[in-house]
Structure formats: structure tokens, C-alpha cells
């Protein structure tokens, strides 16, 4: 059984006038690193939203470990425990420190306040920011902010990390550092990583690349075939 399986997935907006996804079929195996590429507006982010249960398909089915995601009794719990998000714009909460931002997803677990803090320190250490625990996002560089966001995405030990252009807002040096970190953690921890990117050099580091155009997957190639 695949970790994620999409069948004839469509997503329409404005009463069908805008078709973001036009029948997408693919599956994701546990531990894979998949890059999703394609031009702007091809449906990459919409696909990511479907995988993260942030949005529901208009038609088609999306299964997570064999269970229909649209029938999931608690999508918030799915997002909290199975999914880790890394956003292009980081989306750290400005009034919370680095450590507190990492603790945010942990409110949906049974961890106590002290356990949450302890775990956030471990995660920030993992991304090399244990010296920035009490810094607010405004006092961190772009690369550091994204590293905090990476630590936050791992807060509840998700099976799948969904990254939407995670290096899109970074200079090339920081982009390399952040990408290396994401890939290293994915490999060390064996998590599944689905990464949306415009950059072919980033996609080249994935084990598999889905190329999209006009709401369809037009190619699905594993690294061996690239």
C-alpha cells in the first residue's frame, strides 16, 4: 500500500471556470523525496494543499495509508500529526520567539509546557539554531527563519514534509544551506518529502520528479531515469 495515492484528482474554482487540477494520478511511497516542478499556475501549490488536507478536491480520491482523506474525521489532527509544512514565506508568528514558534504545533499533542520547550530546543539544535532560541523572527536572517520553520515542521514527528518553494525567498548561499538541511534531515529520519520548486537544480536532487503543466502531471520520472 502506498503512503499516498491520488486518483483522477481535480480541483475547480469559480464554478468550474478555473481548473487548477485536471485529473491527477500518482502515488507516493514512504521515505520518498519527490520534487514537483512546473511553471507558475500549473497546479503545484493546489496539489500540495490537497496532500496537506488544507483543501478538498472537487472530484477524485486521495488516500493516505489507504484511508480516504476527504472522509478523515479530523483533518486538523491529520495536519498536526502526519504533515509538516515548510512555506516559501516562512510564516513564523512575529510575536513568538524561535523556540515558541517551534512549540506552536505541539499544542495539539499531550506534551506538557516544559516538554514542549525541551523538544523545541532539541529541534532547534538539530537545525543549528540552539543559540537563537529566544530571538524573535525579526531578529533572524532569512536563512535562520527558514531553519526555524524546518524545525517547526518536524515538531510532531510527521510522516510527510510538504515544502512549498522553501528556498524561494533566500539568497543562493542560504538557499543551498537550507536545501542541504532539508534533504539531510529527510534522509536521516527517513521521512517522506514532497517539495514544490521552480528550480531544476533543486529538483535534480530529488529521488523522483513530477512535472506539471495546466493542472496535469505530464511526466513522473525517478532519479535513475532522469
Amino acid at each position: 500500500m502506498s503512503l499516498i495515492e491520488a486518483k483522477a484528482l481535480t480541483r475547480e474554482f469559480d464554478d468550474g471556470q478555473v481548473k487548477a487540477l485536471r485529473g491527477v494520478d500518482f502515488s507516493v511511497e514512504e521515505g520518498e523525496f519527490i520534487a514537483v516542478t512546473g511553471p507558475s499556475g500549473c497546479g503545484k501549490s493546489t496539489l500540495l494543499q490537497m496532500l496537506g488536507a488544507l483543501d478538498r478536491p472537487t472530484s477524485g480520491t486521495l488516500l493516505y495509508r489507504g484511508q480516504l482523506l476527504s472522509d478523515h474525521p479530523n483533518p486538523a489532527s491529520y495536519r498536526a500529526h502526519e504533515i509538516g509544512f515548510i512555506f516559501q514565506a516562512f510564516h513564523l508568528l512575529p510575536t513568538f520567539t524561535a523556540s515558541e514558534n517551534v512549540q506552536i504545533p505541539m499544542f495539539e499533542t499531550s506534551r506538557s509546557a516544559s516538554e514542549r520547550k525541551e523538544h523545541s530546543v532539541e529541534l532547534l539544535k538539530l537545525v543549528g539554531l540552539d543559540h537563537r532560541l529566544d530571538h524573535f523572527p525579526s531578529k533572524l536572517s532569512g536563512g535562520e527563519r527558514q531553519r526555524v520553520a524546518i524545525a517547526r515542521s518536524l515538531a510532531n514527528g510527521p510522516s510527510v514534509v510538504l515544502a512549498d518553494e522553501p528556498t524561494g525567498n533566500l539568497d543562493s548561499e542560504n538557499a543551498h544551506l537550507v536545501l542541504d538541511l532539508i534533504i539531510r534531515l529527510q534522509q536521516e529520519q527517513g521521512r517522506t518529502l514532497v517539495l514544490v520548486t521552480h528550480d531544476p537544480t533543486i529538483a535534480a536532487r530529488a529521488s523522483r520528479t513530477l512535472h506539471m503543466r495546466d493542472g496535469r502531471i505530464i511526466s513522473d520520472k525517478s532519479a535513475a531515469n532522469l
Partner: protein, 372 residues
């Protein structure tokens, strides 16, 4: 970091706006404390005054005013021998302006009646007899009127003399101008008219027996009401209006408070749409988002309540010391009223937060993926 610290952090995002909203709620709650405290204080001060005179039951016709309407003094003879009545004392009480003062209590008492017995002379003396054209002033009344023993005092068209300053054991007594009943009846041309019969019950009379006594009196004299001290003012239509007006004014202030908090919380939700969507994307449930907004709103209410209670209590004290009401009442700032005001404040916060909380929970987490 606890959930409560997330809530507090939300309020600290916009300190100026939070402070202004707090000021809005505080003023509303201060109005409740001050206005209701004053009206309750008036009621309580009268009760304490009556108790100080050793009165268990009051016979009067409260009608629509704050002071009773006059009736014939001979009514007393019809009830004096009823069971459980130890003593009676007839009075003519007016709430009136004396010389340059605002409202003062003018209390004329049957000479020799028990309602004189609580008065303790501080300086000067008591009137010599029922016909002496003299008054004694409660200590507060003397201060308000700036009078001392020997000074003349103008009561309506008559000039009397202050012969003593007394302590009455209650604010209302200390704020009164006290004189012999026939003197005031003559001045006001209300011969044989009284407004009140104070009744002292025989020792050991139960509440049930007092209740039966009041029924007997009202059967004998249908023009009057006989009520126990604690019920006295509540039978006044005028006082009911004062009480209702204080609550209505308070209610308006509360409604303004609700609108202020709701406006703030709605703005907070609109401003933080993106942040809330990120929280939803990170797995926060809609219930937790709603709780966050509601707790922020309730916390605003609680803080506003605490500040409002403090301002209201201080304001009520200031009002109570103004010349217009000094000696008439002492604001009732009981724990019950202060607690009720704080509960109202939290209620204001919760009610105001309901709609914004619902709005926040309807947001779509997918907005989080849009850059912002």
C-alpha cells in the same frame, strides 16, 4: 509556553488598541459600580438609619416619591394597641433644600418618641420641649450647612435656632436636620399630618409575626403600607425608578463596551487572518482557534472589569462626598456588587468575542500557502 501565554501575546500585539478597548470596558463597568452602588447605597443608608432609630417596621405611604406622602396622625391610635407593637413614634420627614444646600433630610419627630433615643449630643443640647423653635443637626448636616450651636437656621419661611449637634449612629441620621414634630407641622402648615410611623416590635417577635402585623395594619388603614425596615424603600415607586434608571444607564454603558470589544476582536481576527490560517495549517483545531479568540476577549473583559471596579469605587466615593449627596447616602460597594460587576465585565468579553471567534474558525487554512 502555555496556551494562556499565547492568548496574552495576542493582546500585546497592539498595546495601544488593547489599552483603548480596556478603557472603554472600564468606563462601562465603572458606570455600573458607581450608579448601582449609589442607588443601593441610598437604600442601605435609609435602612441603617431606620435601624439606628430602633425601628422594626415603618408605616408610610411611599407612593411615587422618595419621601412618603403625609397622612393623618390619628392613624397611629388605630394601630398602637395591636399585638407585637412595643412602641410607636410619629414622624414628618421631608427631603428638601435648606438654605444654600442641596437636598437634605428634614426629620421632625414626636416629642418623647423612641426615635429621639439614638441621638447622642456632641455639642450643645437637645430641644427643651416640643414647642421650642429649635433644631439639632446631625454631624454631617452641620458640616454641610456650615452651622454651629447657636446659629440661626432657615426652614422654609421660619427661622429656628441650632441648639445642638448630634451623632445618630447612621449616615442618614448624621445627615439630618432634626426637630420636634409640632414645629415642622406648623411651618409646613401640615397640622396633625405625619408621613411615617416608626414601630418598635416587642422583643422576640418573629419575621412571620411581623409579616402578620403588617397585614393587620394595612387592613386597618388601607391608605398606608406597613413594611419591615429591609423592605421599606423597595416599596417606593420613585426609588424603583431611580434604581431602574441606574441599571438602564449601566446597561447602555455595557452595550457600548460590548461593541468596543467586538470591534477590537473583529479587527484582530481580520488583521490576523493570515496568522490564524497558518495556525490551522499547522494543525490547530478550529475549536482551539475559537478558544484563543474567546479567551483574549474574556481576558480583555476581566482586565477592564478590574480597572472599571477600581475607577467605579473611587468615583462612587467622590460622588458620595459631593455636597449634593453628602449625608444622604454612602455608596454600597459591597463585595457582591464588585463581584457582579467583574462577572458582567467577563460576560461582556465573552459575548463580544463570540462572533469574532466564529469568524476566525471559518477561515480556510489554504490561505496560509499564499505568500504574506
Amino acid at each position: 509556553m502555555t496556551f494562556f501565554s499565547v492568548v496574552v501575546r495576542g493582546l500585546l500585539r497592539r498595546p495601544v488598541r488593547t489599552s483603548l478597548t480596556l478603557a472603554g470596558i472600564s468606563i462601562g463597568i465603572a458606570a455600573v459600580v458607581a450608579l448601582v452602588g449609589m442607588s443601593r447605597g441610598f437604600e442601605k443608608s435609609w435602612q441603617v438609619g431606620l435601624k439606628a432609630r430602633g425601628t422594626d417596621m415603618v408605616v408610610s405611604n411611599m407612593g411615587g416619591g422618595l419621601t412618603p406622602k403625609p397622612f393623618d396622625a390619628s392613624f397611629r391610635d388605630r394601630i398602637a394597641n395591636l399585638p407585637h407593637i412595643a412602641a410607636t413614634c410619629t414622624l414628618l420627614i421631608q427631603l428638601t433644600s435648606i438654605e444654600n444646600s442641596d437636598l437634605m433630610i428634614l426629620s421632625a419627630r414626636e416629642w418623647g418618641g423612641f426615635s429621639w433615643s439614638n441621638l447622642e449630643v456632641v455639642s450643645g443640647r437637645m430641644p427643651r420641649d416640643a414647642t421650642e423653635r429649635a433644631v439639632v443637626l446631625g454631624q454631617t448636616a452641620a458640616e454641610v450647612l456650615k452651622k454651629k450651636v447657636g446659629d440661626p437656621i432657615q426652614i422654609e419661611t421660619a427661622e429656628l435656632q441650632v441648639v445642638g449637634i448630634v451623632k445618630g449612629g447612621a449616615l442618614v441620621e448624621d445627615g439630618s436636620v432634626i426637630l420636634s414634630l409640632p414645629i415642622l407641622q406648623e411651618i409646613l402648615r401640615l397640622q396633625n399630618q405625619i408621613t411615617t410611623i416608626d414601630i418598635r416590635a416587642t422583643p422576640g417577635t418573629t419575621d412571620q409575626q411581623l409579616h402578620e402585623l403588617s397585614q393587620q395594619i394595612e387592613q386597618l388603614i388601607p391608605e398606608v403600607r406597613a413594611v419591615t425596615v429591609s423592605e421599606h424603600l423597595s416599596h417606593s415607586e420613585g426609588f424603583r425608578i431611580v434604581r431602574a434608571m441606574s441599571w438602564v444607564t449601566s446597561l447602555l454603558a455595557i452595550v457600548v463596551g460590548v461593541l468596543g470589544v467586538m470591534n477590537t476582536m473583529l479587527m484582530t481576527v481580520f488583521e490576523r487572518t493570515h496568522e490564524i490560517c497558518v495556525l490551522l495549517a499547522l494543525g490547530w483545531t478550529r475549536g482551539r482557534i475559537m478558544r484563543m479568540v474567546l479567551y483574549e476577549s474574556a481576558l480583555l473583559g476581566l482586565l477592564g472589569g478590574i480597572v472599571g471596579v477600581a475607577i467605579g469605587a473611587a468615583g462612587a466615593h467622590l460622588l458620595g462626598n459631593t455636597p449634593a449627596v453628602r449625608g444622604l447616602l454612602e455608596p454600597d460597594l459591597s463585595v457582591a456588587l464588585l463581584g457582579l460587576s467583574a462577572i458582567i465585565a467577563v460576560g461582556v468579553g465573552v459575548v463580544s468575542g463570540l462572533y469574532p471567534a466564529w469568524r476566525s474558525s471559518r477561515l480556510t487554512p489554504s490561505l496560509a500557502l499564499q505568500s504574506g
